[in-house]
């Protein structure tokens, strides 16, 4: 499976180091993701998830989306994983190995996800197989033009969705309090 990703485009150029980095990250991520859904230890699953999320952040860096990468590290690695660990502790999940973490539809799961993968993969390969990533002017190192553009984009083009998301977060906050409080 890794060969598929590591297959660098025939063009030489400076993409090679980036491709190597991508290959490494991709392999690690896929292994970690598979471990998340197969490990028999709940805490280990959270730790494997951390690796996947961190790899995700590295991919964003590779794609020159620095701000999103930082957000990914802060929010996901910093906050969400901790939240998961709290969830694990609060629900007294078995901290060691346990054999009953999966239900009896393992083959169904494999089948469904394989069908999905085939469908998605087929259409992707069919549609985008010769699109190369272009980074445009952002290649000019040393500027923060990317983040500046992002800020303008959020607060000018997408201001209303931004506000809606903040209201959603507020609603989630209240909802979580109401649901989780003891009474």
């Amino acid at each position: 499976m890794t060969g598929l990703f590591a297959a660098a485009p025939s063009a030489v150029s400076f993409d090679t180091p980036a491709n190597i980095a991508f290959a490494v990250i991709a392999v690690v991520m896929v292994i970690a993701a598979v471990r998340v859904v197969t490990t028999r230890n709940v805490v280990h699953a959270a730790l494997w998830l951390m690796i996947v999320l961190g790899g995700n952040g590295l991919l964003y860096l590779l794609l020159q989306a620095e701000f999103v990468a930082m957000t990914q590290f802060l929010v996901y690695l910093g906050a969400i994983v901790v939240l998961f660990l709290f969830g694990i502790m609060l629900t007294r999940a078995p901290l060691g190995r346990s054999d009953d973490l999966d239900n009896d539809q393992r083959w169904m799961g494999v089948a469904v996800s394989l069908i999905l993968l085939v469908v998605i993969g087929y259409s992707l390969i069919k549609t985008y197989s010769d699109d190369k990533l272009t980074f445009g002017a952002v290649r000019n190192a040393g500027t923060n033009a990317q983040t500046q553009d992002l800020a303008t984009s959020i607060f000018v083009d997408y201001l209303v969705p931004f506000e809606v998301v903040s209201v959603l977060l507020l609603a989630a906050l209240i909802g979580a309090i109401v649901l989780a409080r003891r009474d």
Partner: protein
């Protein structure tokens, strides 16, 4: 000047105190209390210095000659804003240009309502003349000259000092935060640390040995820090942050003893009720942000609102939204329900948060953004507006509710609601100074009353039930009794205690009493409601004195006078509550007693801003007839209750509710707090929750079941038809085969609807994948 520009130290010190208590409090010999007391005392010293500097500062301020040409006036007003840097307020840097351009483009409604630069006498004549006809206009004419004489034909301009740091700087909008010092913030800067210090000292005894003693003091510090942060705000964004911070501290302190469910419920109720108003706050602030040309600066907003730079309808929309915020934070009708419940917190907290400081955040916000309300609601020259109605209704209905409470703290809580109503009314009728003055005096005597109630319960085994567990404490707790009595007198408005002066200014400010002059409007309805509320105030407070201090002791154990750490703050507060009224003596008491120039209306001169960023208000004059009436009304309340309880008069009224259906009906309404809690929890929430559930159940029952039944019936009918027509002619074996097939399908389908969510998820994903696959194959 140094004290003005570095005032950020004050909230910073309290925040530091919070952190220190949090991290090191448990290890300190006094468990962190000493850190809090030390820092609050420092803050108080700082604010005393600031006050001193402010007095000399405003003494040196330039004056504005009455008859000077407009250009000269404007130049002087602009000069007064010299201490507002351009990065803190774009408008203040070039007020004339920006206002002129806005005016030219808008031609807005601001100019006809403001009268900002018009001749003051004409405005006054206008406003009173509309209401009371020729008597009033005659009075206005004479008192116009009196006013001119009083002010020496010139007004001292306020020179606010603003400092800010830029947080986010972008071409569209720059977000700043900092401090704005003028009379209003100086007053709050004095009140908050003062009350906080006394509450800290009181608490060292009152919550002694509590399970979360250190935590308690940490949150007192945080609360003081956030309130100071709020009152010093330079931008509306900062105000919102401070506003929410005091809300959070209030949540934490109400729920201080969260192990008992009513306490944590009360904390949640306070928090959630406040969220309702906070929506209004956010929307209002956003409206103002855009209206002021993408600026959060309070200075920008107030100058533009005041000088007609913002359209009248916009101001009205913003002020209505902000009134919702005031209603929740300052416990105004109909969002007041959280405030009495918030008495679940420790008593010193009630004194600090729910009497003296936090609940006045709403009042402060209105006062700070006053031009928005003044012009948005057309307060000047009017006779009714939303702010005044909300306030007057609250003042009256809150006072009525206080009658049926058994819990002494609840009485005080409703009394707070009612007094906040007085302040809001006062702001609503244009008597800005009166409102601030009442806030100032009320902070002292209400804190004294709450702490007194705390002292009582400290003696009576932590019960607040004055009807069943108190009584006869006058002899046992003389210090508590006398301080409580003085504070009650002040609250009831007895001459010459502080409450008399401030309440009288509010009543005069309605401009409705015959012969009153220089008010900003004529609010007859408000005057009547406030007078009734004042009567009730005196009456219910006398009732608490009867229950707590007279008669026989009804509790158990042996009560005793509290220690010095409790009584000394009480004595200080009672003294302040008695004499604070002298801070704003009217110019003359009916001519028979002239007040020396040096002590008259000091408060007004120091606190009320004059300049471009504040509407030019007129000040109702002291009216001896009204003063006598208000004292008489209060006195009548006291005397009637005295006769009722002490002398047993009106025997027919005793136990009336038990005999008379009408009386019982009204009492029931009061006991159930006008059924507001019932309305919120049972009707609204219940309707939404139960209604949705019932609605979906109905759909389930009638629509879905109907479809299923219909399908079933159709199938049955089809079956009969088949039986009649086909079965007779087709071989039995085929029928049996069909039967077993359908049975098998049914069985298979039954297995699918197992209720296992993940099975559903698997089917869902599989179906989606198959559909997507078909899509890809067919399209591609």
């Amino acid at each position: 000047m140094w004290f003005f520009t570095h005032v950020w130290i004050v909230p910073a010190m309290m925040a530091l105190s919070f952190l220190l208590i949090l991290f090191f409090g448990k290890k300190m010999p006094k468990k962190g209390a000493e850190i809090g007391i030390f820092f609050v005392a420092l803050c108080l010293i700082y604010s005393l210095f600031t006050l001193g500097n402010w007095i000399t500062w405003s003494h040196d301020s330039p004056t504005l000659a009455e008859g000077a040409p407009e250009a000269q006036q404007l130049a002087a007003e602009k000069g007064a804003l010299a201490n507002v840097p351009a990065e803190c307020s774009k408008v203040a840097a070039h007020p004339v240009a920006s206002v002129a351009s806005e005016k030219a483009e808008g031609g807005s409604g601001g100019s006809d309502t403001s009268g900002g630069h018009g001749d003051e006498g004409a405005t006054a004549a206008n406003s009173t003349g509309t209401g009371t006809g020729e008597v009033a206009s005659g009075a206005a004419a004479t008192s116009g000259s009196a006013k001119a004489a009083e002010a020496g034909a010139e007004e001292t301009l306020t020179r606010p000092v603003v400092r800010c740091a830029t947080w986010i700087d972008s071409p569209e909008a720059s977000i700043t935060w900092g401090t704005q010092i003028d009379g209003l913030s100086i007053m709050m800067l004095l009140v908050v640390p003062l009350i906080s210090l006394l509450v800290h000292i009181f608490s060292t005894d009152y919550v002694h040995g509590d399970r979360r003693y250190t935590h308690y003091f940490a949150f007192l510090s945080l609360f003081t820090a956030s309130m100071l942060f709020f009152v010093l705000s330079q931008s509306t964004l900062q105000m919102i942050v401070g506003w929410e911070l005091v809300g959070v501290c209030s949540f934490a302190l109400i729920g201080h003893w969260w192990e008992e469910k009513p306490n944590s419920d009360a904390a949640l109720k306070a928090f959630l009720t406040n969220r309702v108003g906070d929506m209004g706050l956010l929307i209002g602030m956003i409206i103002l942000f855009f209206a002021a040309g993408n600026s959060f600066s309070i200075m920008d907003i107030t100058i533009l609102a005041n000088e007609g730079g913002i359209r009248h309808t916009v101001l009205m929309a913003a002020s209505i939204c902000l009134i919702a915020a005031v209603m929740s934070k300052s416990g105004q009708f109909i969002l007041h329900t959280w405030l009495p419940d918030a008495m679940a917190g420790p008593t010193p907290v009630s004194a600090l948060i729910h009497a003296a400081t936090m609940v006045v955040a709403g009042i402060f916000m209105v006062a700070r953004l006053y031009p928005v309300f003044f012009h948005g609601l057309s307060i000047s020259g009017s006779s009714i507006n939303l702010l005044a109605v909300v306030g007057a209704v609250t003042a009256l209905f809150g006072a009525l509710l206080a009658f049926v409470q058994k819990d002494i703290k609840k009485v005080l809580a409703y009394s707070t609601v009612s007094q906040l109503g007085f302040m809001v009314t006062s702001l609503g009728v244009g008597a800005w100074t009166a409102a601030m003055f009442h806030l100032f005096t009320h902070a002292f005597f209400k804190a004294c009353l709450f702490l007194g109630a705390g002292s009582l319960s400290h003696a009576c085994h932590h019960s607040f039930n004055m009807v069943d567990d108190m009584g006869g404490l006058r002899k046992i707790m003389p210090k508590t009794f006398w301080t409580y009595l003085i504070a009650t007198g002040a609250l009831a408005g007895i001459f010459p205690l502080s409450g008399f002066w401030s309440k009288d200014e509010i009543l005069a400010g309605t401009g409705s009493f015959p012969g009153s002059s220089h008010a900003n409007g004529t609010y007859h309805l408000m005057l009547i409601m406030l007078l009734i509320a004042a009567f009730c105030t005196a009456a219910y407070m006398t009732r608490t004195i009867w229950y707590a201090f007279y008669g026989e002791y009804r509790g158990h154990g042996h009560p005793h006078e509290s220690g010095p750490r409790i009584t000394v703050p009480l004595i200080i507060l009672a003294t302040l509550g008695a004499i604070a009224g002298l801070a704003n003596l009217p110019a003359q008491l009916s001519g028979w007693l002239d007040v020396p120039d040096s002590v008259q209306t000091r408060f007004e001169h120091l606190v009320e801003p004059v300049g471009l960023y504040f509407p030019q208000l007129t000040h109702a004059e002291f009216n001896p007839a009204l003063a006598i009436l208000s004292v008489a009304v209060g006195g009548a309340g006291i005397v009637l209750v005295y006769l009722y309880y002490w002398k047993g008069a009106f025997a027919g009224l005793h136990g009336l509710a038990g005999r008379n259906r009408t009386a019982a009906f009204f009492k029931n309404i009061l006991v159930n707090k006008y059924y507001f809690d019932w309305l919120y929890t049972d009707v609204i929430t219940g309707w939404v929750k139960g209604g949705l559930a019932r609605g979906s159940n109905w759909v389930n029952k009638n629509v879905i079941d109907g479809v299923v039944n219909g399908v079933g019936r159709g199938a049955a009918a089809g079956g009969r038809w088949v039986y009649d027509n086909v079965d007779q002619t087709v071989v039995d074996g085929a029928v049996n085969g069909a039967g077993s097939v359908s049975s098998a399908t049914g069985g298979g389908l039954r297995r699918i609807t197992s209720g296992h969510i993940q099975q559903y998820a698997a089917l869902f994903f599989a179906a989606a994948a198959v559909l997507a696959g078909m899509f890809v194959v067919l399209i591609g």
